[in-house]
Structure formats: structure tokens, C-alpha cells
């Protein structure tokens, strides 16, 4: 797909969610809402220690409770499932496969009972006898091991001579930064419902990748993927946490098979902290060298990330920080620190959120050291080519974002002197930062069925995790078939449908839209061909390229027209159907087969041969810090983003501000506290793990800069789900510095970090 015919101009027009009515009436069925006949209920047993072995279970008391049906442990079913394969990082921790304990809260058993209440009570009455060892919790804990991350999935950069250039630089910034452990905490809990029917397993589970989950569970159970169906029509928030299969699913499937009865599991909120993934804590050493005029001469960025004992999972956001600014000497290195913890995983803008915070803070420190406006510093170091590879960016409107954003924010009124802007007892700080996220697109398939009555059905195993994917899919079909969006039905989230890729990495809109458009264009071609070659139709004899589709019509340039419904009827009294596979530029034909097998063939904006493809943005925030209490408030946030074609500005705006508010949470609130003695999460609930609430949020605005990028992909679509969060951490830290003169390099920034400028002086 290189060229596209004129379209019906549906893209770019705000459209209400087509699944909105279902969501506001309670009719949207999330996986745990799906009814199954006569279910039994499961409750997970989790480890109370972080390292060691299970000596034995004492199940007697639990088993004697009324309603208890089965208790699964490594003793009775440990060999029934192969270990899980995680999306990244190689080996993962195990669960019931052995008696080994890798981390606190590890799944070690499943209790099944007639009711949820009985299963829960029985789980509380299981006694576990352990052989304990002293665990290592995090950075600095005794017993952790460190290794340099090998190139492979991620790479390090060694460009020029950063060491010498830094040593010789006129101005140097040399600082350490840290970001904390964070948990996704979608409001929907992790749930799994399994049922068997004639050797066929159906799994209802919220998933960002139904084909991936299917393949993983089939592999674990040693059955064919075709024997497994995964259904996930609505997902109650994911943010990365529902992308990778987790160990729970196979055990619930096995429990259901043993009992020949459907089983429902709803993992508790606290268990969710350890049975799924999280964003690991990171440490950074940044060294920037610059001339007195502000031109960067050296950038060294070293990162450290925590992971579990067996996994090498890491996010390596240096792949973005090395590309932000023109610099002739760049050195990056990422280190992995193994601890007795569960394996981390993808969480909103996985690499860029923790790695851009130190870079964008350091750039602000440099601007401050130079006495230069931070936007001007970024302008001086803007670059049309990717400094890491020398390839050009497919498009890069970073400075346009800054200029539009600065005008809207009123940046010119900013007094650069820290602590100089006040409103009564409130110190006002204005901060900004760059945002960037790679433009990714995956191989994807879709089927479109066009009916004679002039409506269509899109079938694609895509995933709407709140992004508005249902609506985007309908808009893509409407755009190409010339039908109103209301005439398009969309079916998603089911492995009985053609496979779509993982809904993550800001790739899903681009991936599904291209596959749907390709299927629609095949139908379009057939309609047009039949219309112009008919003997008596109104469009007979016209040239194919003179026909466009819009407003439910086939329209010829000379004004002749025919309804889409009539054009379909010429070909069939029933329906026309097209199935399409879209393979993004740079990927091989075999990626479609891989997708069917639940693998993820993706073209990454940082891994392309032709261009480097990123979305860019500029983030502005105002903070107010109370002079005496040091309470921090954020009265307004503004993000300006250039992310290519915006399919639905309504849902795009919601995603952008949602990302920005995530940034506020990360900068000021969120941290999973770890008890180092036990390598245990302490605040494993959403009253004590602070996520933003309504009272935390005032004004949040996103501006979408028009951007036409035909190099990124034929429809010019970049991602929007991740970039909203990326610049916020830095912008808030920079604003806090501007308000108070305090540079906080460790997130989250809380009252105790600022208590209290007045007292300190």
C-alpha cells in the first residue's frame, strides 16, 4: 500500500465512541462479566516470603471447609504446565512448576470452591511451611547481582568520544537521577474465566493481545492453539499490564479441566501487584557537556534497571535519549540489576518515561547554568537527523510544538529567576520539557463484510483498552467505503477473528487502520469496477480513477452517482467480503504467519532502514508550591503534539490528557514502597499507592499540531497513547525548580522533598 485514492474525509472529524452507549449503560461486557453456566470460583494462594522453597503445604483445614472443591499446588499439578514465555527478557520466574520461591506474592496455589466466599476463606486457612532465605529487594540491597545489558533487543550507542568531549566541555552538567517502582493499577482487576467444551478451551480474560495469550496458554498446556479461544471484548484499562500472558491463566485452565466445570478467577488488588508486571525502579547518571553558546558537545547516559533473578527484561530508554538532540559525542549504557522480585514489564511509554525524566531535567539544569531560556536551548540543539544513526527523521516538529505551546501557555511572561513568581503564599513555577515516542506499526489482518443494505462489518482481533479502537476501526472503514460511521459494526477482541497485533507501543491505530483500509480498498475496487463496466448503470463507461466513495454514494467526477447499496446489489444479493493482510514496510511476508502464531511482528520507529520515525511534543506545566506547607498543586498542564494523522480528535484528546495526568501521578504521587527486609510491596492497594484523583487535576489541555508524514506509513499515522506522559515528569520537576530553586532528582516529588525552603534558609 503505497498510494491511496481520495477518501471520504472521515479521518480528523471528532466522533463519539461507537461503544459509548454500551459503556454508559453497563452493557459492555468485560471478561469477568461474561456469563458461564454453573461456575466454580478460584482464589490464588500467594507466597508470604520472597526467596526460598516451599517445604510443605498443610491443606487439611482448608479442605474440610464446606464448598471447597480442589486445591492446586506444585505437589499435585506442578508438571501439568510448561513455564510461561514472557514478551521480553527471556526466562521468567516460575509459579507452581516447582517449590521454588522467586519473589514475594508469587502464585503458589489455586483454591477452587463452589462460591467466591468459600474459596477465599479456604485460601486464608492454607498453612505453608517455607525454607526461607534472605531476599535482596532493590538497588543497594545485599545480594543483588548486576550485569551490563547485552546488545540485542536494545542497543547502546558509542558515537564519537563522549569521555574526552565531556572532559573538555566549557559547561558540564553531571548528576544522578532516580525513578521509583510503579504499578499500572488499572481499575479492572486481573481476571480469568475458563471453560472446556469437547477438548476446546475458552478463556475470557482482559488482554492487549488475544492471539499472544492464546499461543502462550496453548504452549503451556501442550495443546494446539486452535483448541484455544480467547475472548476479550472490553478491557478495563491495561497500560501495559495486560499485554503479556501471566502464569494464572494456565492454572485456571487446568483447574477447569480437572473439574470439568467453568472456573472464574478475580485476582485481588493486592495480589495484582505481584502476579502481573510493573515498572521497575531506575537509576541514571547523566553527563552533558556544552559550549557557552549552549551547543551540546557530549552526552553520556548510563541507566540501571531492576529485574527479577532469571529475567533480563529492560526498557533501555537511552534509545530515545540519544536521539533527542544533535550531539557529536554520545555514550549510552544500560545495566540490569537482578533482585528477588517479580519480573517487570511494559508500562505506559516503558522506556521513555523513566529515561526522559533525567535527560529533560538535565537539559533544564544546563539552561539554568547557561542563563538561557530552556526552549531556546532545545532549539539550538534541534536536529533533522537521528544523531544515533545519521538517518533523517520521517518528520520532526519538536520546535513547532514548543512555539505553538509557548504562545498558548503564555511562556513569554515567565521570569526565569527561581522563586520570583508568586501569588500570595504560593510560589509559582513554570516548566517545560520535550516529549518523544517512536512511531511503531505491526503486521495486522482484517476482514470486512459489506452488505447490500449499505452497511458493513469489520472483523479484527484488535483490542480497545480505552483508546477508542472500536471507533477508529469504524472510521477507517467509513473513510474508505464512503459510508457513515453509524453504518459500520466492529467486532474485536476474539481469536475467532483475523489476528491483530498487540495493542501497545502506540502502534494499534496505525496497525489496525492499515489492515482495515486495505480490505476496504479491495471491496472498493470491486464495486467501482462493476459499476463502470456495467451495461446500464449510472456510472457505466467512467474511468475507475474518476470515481470516489462518499456519503453512501459512488460519485463520478462528472456528477453521476449511484448508492453504495445499489453498487453492492449489482454484484450480489448478499454481501461482499474481503480479507486483507497488511505488512508494514521493512517487514517480511512471514510476519503474517508469525502473527497467527501469537508472535509480534512490529516495525519500530527506531529500527527502520529508511528513516527514524517518532512523534514529538512539547510539555508545559504550571505548579504552585505553598511557601509554608510545601504542598504542590498543578493548576494547568498543556501538551502540544505532532503525531501525524489524527483519526479521531475526540478520543485522541482524551488519550493525550490521560497520558499527561499519568505523568502528574508519576511525578508527584506514585511509588510502590518496598520493605527491604522482606522484599515486599507495602502499599499494595489503591488507597496507599496514590494515583491521581479528580481533586488533583485542574486544567489539562492538548493541542494537536497538523502533521502530514507520508514516510512513516501510507496513512501517516503515529501513536498517541504513550507520548502524553513522556515529558511531564521533567516538566514538573523543572517547574518545581522554577518555583522553589530546589532541584529534585528523585521521583516522586513530595512535600518532604521540599520541606521547607523557608526553614532551610
Amino acid at each position: 500500500m503505497d498510494e491511496l485514492a481520495p477518501n471520504a474525509a472521515v479521518f480528523g472529524i471528532p466522533h463519539l465512541r461507537i461503544d459509548g452507549r454500551a459503556k454508559v449503560t453497563g452493557q459492555a461486557l468485560y471478561p469477568s462479566d461474561e456469563a458461564v453456566p454453573n461456575p466454580a470460583y478460584a482464589f490464588l494462594l500467594t507466597s508470604a516470603i520472597a526467596k526460598g522453597r516451599i517445604k510443605r503445604f498443610d491443606l487439611h483445614e482448608a479442605r474440610t471447609l464446606p464448598g471447597v472443591l480442589d486445591i492446586l499446588t506444585h505437589d499435585n499439578i506442578g508438571g501439568d504446565a510448561k513455564p510461561l514465555v514472557q514478551q521480553a527478557g527471556g526466562k521468567a520466574t516460575t509459579t507452581l512448576e516447582s517449590n521454588q520461591i522467586w519473589h514475594d506474592g508469587q502464585v503458589i496455589g489455586v483454591v477452587v470452591a463452589d462460591t467466591y466466599e468459600s474459596a477465599r476463606e479456604a485460601a486464608y486457612r492454607v498453612r505453608v511451611h517455607y525454607e526461607k532465605e534472605a531476599p535482596a529487594a532493590t538497588f543497594g540491597s545485599k545480594g543483588t547481582t548486576e550485569e551490563i545489558r547485552e546488545p540485542g533487543e536494545h542497543e547502546d550507542f558509542h558515537i564519537g568520544d563522549a569521555d574526552s568531549a565531556f572532559a573538555a566541555a566549557e559547561i558540564r552538567i553531571d548528576a544522578w537521577y532516580g525513578t521509583p517502582t510503579q504499578h499500572h493499577n488499572p481499575i479492572e482487576l486481573f481476571t480469568t474465566t475458563c471453560a472446556w467444551n469437547d477438548g476446546q478451551l475458552t478463556i475470557w480474560e482482559p488482554s492487549q493481545f488475544v492471539y499472544g495469550l492464546r499461543a502462550n496458554v496453548a504452549r503451556q498446556l501442550g495443546i494446539a492453539p486452535e483448541q484455544v479461544r480467547v475472548i476479550s471484548k472490553f478491557i478495563g484499562g491495561a497500560f501495559g499490564s495486560k499485554g503479556s500472558a501471566t502464569a494464572r491463566t494456565a492454572w485456571i485452565a487446568i483447574a477447569s479441566r480437572r473439574m470439568n466445570r467453568p472456573i472464574k478467577l478475580v485476582v485481588t488488588r493486592d495480589q495484582g501487584f505481584t502476579v502481573a508486571t510493573y515498572r521497575a525502579e531506575t537509576r541514571h547518571h547523566i553527563q552533558i557537556g556544552a559550549t557557552r553558546a549552549g551547543k551540546l558537545t557530549a552526552l553520556r547516559h548510563k541507566g540501571w534497571e531492576v529485574t527479577s533473578r532469571p529475567s533480563t527484561y529492560n526498557v533501555s530508554g537511552t534509545e530515545t535519549t540519544a536521539r533527542m538532540y544533535g550531539c557529536p559525542n554520545i555514550l549510552t549504557k544500560v545495566n540490569i540489576v537482578h533482585a528477588d522480585r517479580n519480573t517487570p514489564g511494559f508500562m505506559r511509554a516503558p522506556p521513555d518515561t523513566p529515561y526522559m525524566f533525567p535527560l529533560e531535567s538535565a537539559m533544564d539544569e544546563l539552561a539554568s547554568a547557561l542563563g538561557m531560556d530552556p526552549i531556546e536551548l532545545r532549539r539550538i540543539n534541534d536536529t533533522p537527523v537521528d544523531p544515533a544513526t545519521g538517518r533523517r527523521f520521517s518528520s520532526r516538529h519538536l520546535m513547532e510544538c514548543f512555539d505553538v505551546g509557548a504562545a498558548r501557555f503564555g511562556w513569554q511572561a515567565r521570569d526565569p529567576v527561581p522563586g520570583s513568581m508568586k501569588d500570595g503564599d504560593w510560589l509559582i513555577g513554570w516548566g517545560c520539557a520535550s516529549a518523544a515516542y517512536p512511531a511503531n506499526i505491526a503486521t495486522c489482518t482484517a476482514r470486512v463484510v459489506l452488505h447490500g443494505e449499505g452497511h458493513a462489518r469489520v472483523e479484527i482481533a484488535g483490542h480497545d483498552i480505552g483508546t477508542g479502537a472500536y471507533t477508529v476501526a469504524a472510521m477507517a472503514a467509513a473513510e474508505r467505503l464512503g459510508l457513515p460511521v453509524e453504518k459500520i459494526m466492529v467486532h474485536m477482541g476474539d481469536t475467532d477473528l483475523p489476528p491483530a497485533s498487540l495493542a501497545a507501543g502506540s502502534s494499534h491505530t496505525a496497525s489496525i487502520a492499515h489492515a482495515i483500509v486495505k480490505a476496504c480498498d479491495e471491496l472498493r475496487g470491486r464495486l467501482i469496477q462493476a459499476a463502470i463496466t456495467s451495461n446500464d448503470g449510472p456510472l457505466a463507461g467512467r474511468a475507475a480513477d474518476s470515481i470516489n466513495l462518499g456519503n453512501g454514494q459512488l460519485l463520478s467526477r462528472d456528477g453521476a452517482h449511484e448508492t453504495v447499496a445499489d453498487a453492492v446489489k449489482r454484484l450480489t444479493g448478499g454481501a461482499l467480503e474481503a480479507y486483507a493482510e497488511n505488512i508494514p514496510k521493512g517487514l517480511n511476508q512471514d510476519t503474517v504467519g508469525k502473527l497467527y502464531q501469537g508472535q509480534l511482528p512490529i516495525s519500530r520507529g527506531i529500527g527502520r532502514e529508511d528513516v527514524t520515525a517518532y512523534a514529538f511534543g512539547a510539555q508545559f506545566v504550571e505548579v504552585r508550591v505553598h511557601r509554608r506547607t510545601c504542598e504542590i498543586r498543578v493548576p494547568r498542564m498543556l501538551g502540544t503534539f505532532a503525531s501525524g494523522t489524527i483519526v479521531n480528535p475526540l478520543t485522541a484528546h482524551s488519550q493525550y490528557i490521560g497520558g499527561m495526568i499519568w505523568g502528574l501521578g508519576a511525578a508527584l504521587l506514585e511509588k510502590t514502597e518496598i520493605d527491604e527486609r522482606f522484599a515486599r510491596y507495602v502499599n499494595d492497594n489503591i488507597a496507599e499507592y496514590y494515583i491521581p484523583v479528580s481533586a488533583d487535576i485542574c486544567k489539562a489541555e492538548a493541542i494537536m499540531l497538523p502533521e502530514h508524514d507520508r514516510d512513516v506509513n501510507p496513512l501517516g499515522i503515529k501513536g498517541i497513547g504513550e507520548i502524553g506522559i513522556v515529558g511531564v515528569n521533567g516538566a514538573i520537576a523543572n517547574a518545581v525548580f522554577h518555583a522553589t530553586g530546589r532541584r529534585v532528582r528523585e521521583l516522586p516529588i513530595r512535600i518532604e522533598n521540599l520541606l521547607c525552603p523557608d526553614r532551610a534558609q
Binding site: 454508559v24 449503560t25 453497563g26 462479566d33 466466599e117 481499575i187 472490553f234 484499562g237 479528580s694
Partner: protein, 159 residues
């Protein structure tokens, strides 16, 4: 034990485990899955229902102890019927993304208005802070409540 539970105007005679929370009875026994489980410990607000018009966290109420009529999201408007002004405002303002917290938000928002706690954006933010939205649709939720409030008050005056 045997209980009579009035939900959305219908009386249900049920034999339940005394340990059952109202939330689990609604979801697992009555098939009213619009009420969501987000934490099961009164922290997130996803399970909010109305009992005699007051907002209540159904995960913290034993079903056996319910006194009064329960209204869930399914009780606000029938299939094909016009939406409640609050549902419509949430839809029009894109006041949700994943939609999981939405039934609880909508019921809480209706009570926020009827309690008289929707006087200003600031007041709405304060009185809606018991309903967490991880997608962070908060600015649009506040907008929707202001929009619905006007319609709810106009309807009330008509009556």
C-alpha cells in the same frame, strides 16, 4: 440465609451466603454486571450503587444488611430507552476511556448533583474524588457533571 433484595424496582428472593457482599450478589447472582469490582475494599468507587438515592460502595455492604431500594447502572435507562441525562453527558463529553469505572462514576455523579455538591468545578472535583479513573478522564467527567446538572435541574422543575 434468605433475603429480599429490591434492585431497580424488582424484588428478588434469594438464598445467599451471609458473607456475600452486595456487589457479588449483583454480579454473580442477579447477572447485573454493570456494577464493577475494582478493589473489593472500598478504595476505588467502581462498585458504587445508589440505595434510596444515596451513593454506597456495594463491595463494603453485606447483601444481607441492605435496607432500601438499590439502583444500579442498568436501572437508569432501559434498552432502547433514552439515556439518563448523566449517561448522555458522559457519552457526549467523552468522560471515560476504558469505561470500567464509568457505571460507578455515573451513579456517584447523579448523587453528587442531588446532594447539592455540584456547585462548582472545584466542589465536583472534591466530591467525586472517591471514584478513581485510571484512564484519567477527570476533566471530561467534571464537564459532563456540569452539563447533566443543568438538564437534571430543568427536568426536576418540569416535574
Amino acid at each position: 440465609m434468605d433475603v429480599n433484595l429490591t434492585v431497580n424496582g424488582s424484588v428478588h428472593h434469594l438464598t445467599i451466603d451471609v458473607r456475600m457482599a452486595l456487589l457479588d450478589v449483583l454480579r454473580e447472582r442477579l447477572g447485573l454486571t454493570g456494577t464493577k469490582k475494582g478493589c473489593d475494599q472500598g478504595q476505588c468507587g467502581a462498585c458504587t450503587v445508589l440505595i434510596d438515592g444515596r451513593r454506597v460502595l456495594s463491595c463494603l455492604v453485606l447483601a444481607a444488611a441492605v435496607e432500601g431500594g438499590v439502583t444500579t447502572i442498568e436501572g437508569l435507562s432501559g434498552e432502547g430507552a433514552p439515556l439518563h441525562p448523566m449517561q448522555d453527558a458522559f457519552l457526549q463529553c467523552d468522560a471515560f476511556q476504558c469505561g470500567y469505572c464509568t457505571p460507578g462514576q455515573i451513579l456517584s455523579a447523579i448523587a453528587c448533583v442531588t446532594e447539592g455538591h455540584a456547585g462548582s468545578e472545584h466542589e465536583i472535583r472534591e466530591y467525586m474524588s472517591g471514584n478513581l479513573c485510571r484512564c484519567a478522564a477527570y476533566p471530561n467527567i467534571v464537564k459532563a457533571i456540569l452539563q447533566a446538572k443543568a438538564k437534571m435541574q430543568a427536568t426536576a422543575e418540569d416535574v
